[in-house]
Symmetry: C2
């Protein structure tokens, strides 16, 4: 994998354009570091057992939750605790770094046309 | 803890000045997100069981290893695989984000005057 080379975030983001399709850029302690470009609304979903970190690298991302929303700007992160239903929304394209266990499905408990099976998620 | 509020990296870095003393800013899936200011040379050390991610937020950091070195600039990260001896070095002060298991001692297998016991590591 990529374990012995460094990762330049901007360089990695330049390698893909598809939105809502996280790419794997690092692996440690059973967790993946992923990058994604997002725009518009994602679906409400929940990860029953996994906490999920969102760090905004470029743009702005709102994470809607049932109790409250959090809006992240560049250089800000938020950890969605496990079992908390959430819905990411970005008015304009945002670039985000995700940190989550290797077995986390990005659409959580929801299966839809955006779902990329874990075994099909690509390393870049 | 901090699980329900967002974290602004620059704001958190403004809260401390001490070097080589990682502060905890997030927790997920048994891992901590930590911030540290570093300058000069750290000691050679190894984490036998834990991979450790270094992301440079400001400045430049070289991670010396016995086989090769990696120099990270802003927006670049590197994962030191478990059991790989390493020595972080920064010519000027660098601000870094660390990602590692909660039970990781920052000086690894080495105990010295810089070692902050895990139970004494602070949340900011």
């Amino acid at each position: 994998m990529e374990t012995f080379s460094k990762v330049n975030l901007k360089d990695k983001f330049s390698l893909f354009k598809d939105q809502w399709s996280p790419k794997i850029v690092g692996e440690l302690n059973g967790q993946f570091v992923k990058l994604a470009k997002v725009e518009g609304s994602f679906d409400w979903h929940t990860h029953e057992e996994e906490d999920e970190l969102f760090l905004v690298v470029k743009g702005s991302l709102t994470i809607k939750m049932r109790e409250s929303d959090v809006t992240l700007e560049e250089g800000e992160f938020f950890i969605v605790p496990k079992a908390v239903e959430h819905k990411p929304v970005a008015e304009h394209e945002a670039w985000i770094l995700l940190f989550e266990p290797k077995n986390t499905a990005h659409t959580g408990n929801v299966q839809n046309e955006r779902t990329v099976a874990i075994e099909n998620q690509e390393w870049i």
